[in-house]
C-alpha cells in the first residue's frame, strides 16, 4: 500500500548491523521458500531407508532423517508452509481487525460500544484451543488452524488499531476533510488509515512471529500439517524420538530455522515500532494545542 515501511526498514538496516542481518536472512528464507523446487538438492519426500540417519556429507550437508530423506531439502521445502501459515493468519487478523477498528473509531457512539464488546468477547478465546476445535470440525491441515489463530488474533489487532485511530480521528485534519464534504469512505481509507499504518505494520511483524510459533506448536501436536509434509513444526515432532537415539539433526535444524525466523521478525518488528514516529516526522506535533508561538 505504501513503500514507507520498506523505506523505513532499509533506512534502519543501513544504520544497524543487526537489523541488516535480519533483513538479509528473511529475504533469503523467502527466496528459498519460493524457489525450493529449483534450489533443493533432493526431493523432500523420497524415502530411502538404506541411507537413514546419515551424518553430514557433501551429498547431504545436514544429513538424513529416519526415513533417509535429505534434511536440508526438507527444511527448504518446509519454509513454504512455515511462512504461508502465518501469512494467512496475518491476512485474516488484518482484514477483520483493522476494518472493525476503523469502523468503531469512525462511527463512535453505540457502534464503538458494540464493536468494543465484541472485541472483549473475542479476547476470551484462547488461540490454541480454538485451533484444536477448528481442527476437530474442519479436519487436520494448514487451513483450519490458520483460520482459528487468525480469529484469535483479530481482537488484538482491533484493540490496538482502534485506540490509535480514535486519537487520529480527533485531529483537525479529519474534521477539515469532513467539512470539505469528502465521503466518509475516502476519509477513512485515504486519511485515517494511513495515520495508523505505521502502528499496524509494527503489530503485523510481531504477530507474524507469534503466529509462526503457534502454528508450529499445532503441527508439533499432530493437528496441523500431516506427514510426509516437511513443515518445520512437524519435522521437530517427527525427529523427537530420534533425539534419544543420538540422532538430533532431524529435529535440530528445523528448530533452528524456526527460532531464527521468529527472532528476525521480532527484531524487525521492534525496529519498525521504534521508528514509526520517524515516518511522518512527528516532532513538530509535540507543539500541538499550544496557543503561543
Amino acid at each position: 500500500m505504501t513503500p514507507q515501511p520498506v523505506r523505513a526498514l532499509l533506512h534502519a538496516a543501513s544504520r544497524n548491523r543487526l537489523t541488516a542481518a535480519c533483513v538479509v536472512f528473511l529475504a533469503l528464507v523467502v527466496l528459498v521458500a519460493v524457489f525450493a523446487p529449483l534450489l533443493a538438492p533432493h526431493s523432500p519426500t523420497e524415502v530411502n531407508l538404506s541411507s537413514a540417519y546419515l551424518g553430514p556429507t557433501l551429498e547431504h550437508p545436514l544429513g538424513t532423517d529416519a526415513s533417509g530423506r535429505d534434511i536440508l531439502s526438507r527444511v527448504m521445502w518446509g519454509a513454504r508452509s512455515s511462512l504461508l501459515g502465518p501469512l494467512g493468519v496475518i491476512a485474516l487478523a488484518l482484514a477483520f481487525g483493522v476494518s472493525i477498528a476503523l469502523a468503531a473509531a469512525w462511527f463512535g457512539g453505540w457502534v464503538d460500544t458494540g464493536i468494543s464488546a465484541v472485541i472483549d468477547v473475542l479476547f476470551s478465546f484462547p488461540g490454541l484451543l480454538l485451533a484444536i476445535v477448528a481442527v476437530a470440525v474442519f479436519g487436520v491441515g494448514l487451513l483450519a488452524p490458520a483460520l482459528a489463530i487468525g480469529i484469535a488474533y483479530t481482537p488484538i489487532m482491533a484493540r490496538i488499531v482502534r485506540s490509535s485511530a480514535l486519537r487520529e480521528r480527533e485531529l483537525p485534519y479529519i474534521a477539515a476533510a469532513s467539512v470539505l464534504g469528502l465521503p466518509a469512505r475516502r476519509i477513512v481509507w485515504r486519511h485515517l488509515l494511513p495515520g495508523v499504518w505505521p502502528l499496524i505494520v509494527a503489530q503485523v511483524t510481531v504477530m507474524f512471529g507469534y503466529a509462526t510459533i503457534d502454528l508450529a506448536a499445532i503441527s508439533f501436536l499432530g493437528l496441523g500439517q500431516q506427514p510426509p509434509s516437511s513443515d518445520w513444526g512437524l519435522m521437530v515432532a517427527e525427529g523427537r524420538p530420534a533425539i534419544l537415539a543420538g540422532h538430533s539433526a532431524q529435529a535440530l535444524y528445523p528448530g533452528i530455522a524456526l527460532v531464527l525466523v521468529v527472532l528476525c521478525v521480532m527484531v524487525l518488528g521492534r525496529r519498525l515500532g521504534d521508528r514509526a514516529d520517524d515516518w511522518e516526522g512527528v516532532a513538530p506535533r509535540l507543539s500541538r494545542g499550544r496557543r503561543g508561538p
Binding site: 485531529l171 483537525p172 485534519y173 474534521a175 477539515a176 476533510a177 469532513s178 467539512v179 470539505l180 464534504g181 469528502l182 465521503p183 486519511h191 494511513p194 495515520g195 511522518e280 516526522g281 513538530p284 506535533r285 507543539s287 500541538r288 494545542g289 499550544r290 496557543r291 503561543g292 508561538p293
Partner: protein, 532 residues
Amino acid sequence: MSALLELDRLRVALPAREGPRAVLRDVSFGVAEGEAVGLVGASGSGKTMTARAIVRLLPPGAEVGGAIRFGGRSVLDMDREALLRYRAGDVAMVFQDPRTHINPVRRVGDFLCEALVLTQGMGRAAATAKVTRLLGETGVEEPERRLRQYPHELSGGQLQRVMIAAALACEPKLLIADEPTTALDVTTQSEVMAMLDEVRRARGLALLFITHDLDLAAAVCERTVVMREGAIVRERPVARGDLLQQPAQTAATPLSESSESSVLEVSGLCKAFRVRGEDGRRSDFLAVEDVSFAVPAGGSLAIVGESGSGKTTIARMIVGLQGPTAGTITLLGRPRSRPPRGASERRIRGREAQIVFQDNYSSLDPRQRVGDALGEALDLHFRPTPAERRRRVAELLDGVGLKQEHASALPRTLSGGERQRAALARALAVEPRLLVLDEAVSSLDVSTQAQILDLLAAIRAATGTAYVFISHDLAVVRRVSEEVLVLRQGRIVERGATQRILAAPSDPYTRLLLDSVPRPGWKPRRLATTSA
C-alpha cells in the same frame, strides 16, 4: 549594580543532517542583580535556546562556544556537583505550559515540597509551611487545600502560580520565565504578570523574561533585548499592540439585521454537554446558551471570548462538526439542524461553509502534499481536467501568498504561517460562501498574524466570502471584522460595531478583556472581577 548573569558571545550549534546548524550566534547580554530583562523574539529566534543554555539543558550533541558567567563563575565549566548546586539554588525556571511541566499523578504539595526536602535538607513540616506561605505570596487562594489537590483540579492560571511558587522555593537569585503566560487567557495573563512583578520587586529577584510580545516585556522589564535568527538585533519587532493601533477597517458591506441578505442565521442556539460532577452524578453543562446572530453576505462577524466561553463549540456547530442541542442554524436559507444525508448533501454543505482551525500542524494531513490536498478538494467539487486542476492549484497558492514550489511540500517542512496559508487555500478551494476562522491566527507570531489578517481582508474584498472570525484576542479583531460579539460562559454579553466596542465598551467584561491586551505604556493589573 554588578552583573549577576553575563552571556559573552554565546554560540550554540545543533547537529543536523547537513552538519551542525548554528542556532545562537554571538549572543551577548547581561542581567544585573535585581534587574528584569525582557528577551523578545519570534518563535525560532533562539530565545528558548538561550534560556536552556543558561541552565545547561541543551539537547544532546549541541556544540557550545563563548561564555556564560553567573556571579563570576563560568557556567559552562562547572562540574556535576557545582552544576547541581547552581541549578538547585541559583537559578529557577518557569515554562510556557504548566500542565506539561508538572507530574499529573502527584499532589501539588508533594511537587512543591520535593525540591526543598531534597536540596535544602528541610523537614517535611517546615517545607509544607514554607510552600503554603509561597502560594499565598503568588496569589493562590486557599493554599492549604491546593496542596492536597492534583494538577488537573487547578486552572491554568492557578497552576502557573504554583509553578512560580515552586521556582521561588529554593530562593534563587535569577528567575528565567519562558513565555509563562502565553498559554493563558489575556485577563489571567494580566493578573499573573502583575503578581510576578510584585513578587520580584519584593524579593529583589533578577528576572529574565522571555516572550514574543514586546509590549508585555516592556510592561514588566527595565530593559529588553530583541533576538532574531539566533542573534541580538537592534530593531524593534512588530508588537501586538500595533495590531490594536491599526486604523479600523471600513465595513465592506453595511450591517443589516434583515434576514434577506444573510449568509448565516443563528437563532436561539444552545449546546449542552453531559458532565459528571464531583458527587459522581450526571448533569448537563450548557456550553452555549441562547446565542442568536446573523452574518450578511460578504460580512464579517467576530466572536470574542476566553477559553471556555463556548466560541469553538459555536464554530463547530456552524460547519456541522457538532449538532446543536436546541436552536437553529440556517445557511443560505437552508437549515442545518440535522447531519447531511448522502454524498451530494455533504458536498453542497461543503460549498456553503468551510473552516480553518487554530492548530496549523494537525489541520493538514501530514502525509499529503499541499498541492494534493488542494487537488483533492477541487476534484470533489469541480471535477476539473488535470490542466485546469494544475492552474487552480497555482492560483490558490498564489492567492494565499505561497510559492508554486509549496505544492509539492509536505506540511512538516513548512513554517506555521505557511501551513496556515495552505489550510486557508484548501478552505478557499471550494469557493465557500462562509468561512469560519477558529482562532486561525492565534498560534502564529505577531508579525505572521499581521500578514495573515491582511490576507484575510484582501480575500474578503476580492471574493465576497463572509467570515465568522473567532478569537480570544480583541486586538486582532479590528482588522477583519466590522461587527463583534463578546461571549462569556456561553452567553453573549455585548455586541455591536467593532469600532464602537473597542472605543467604548459598555459591558465591564468587555472592558476587562480590552484592558488586558498588552500595548505600549500598558501595565499588568490585578483585577477584582475575575479569579484566575
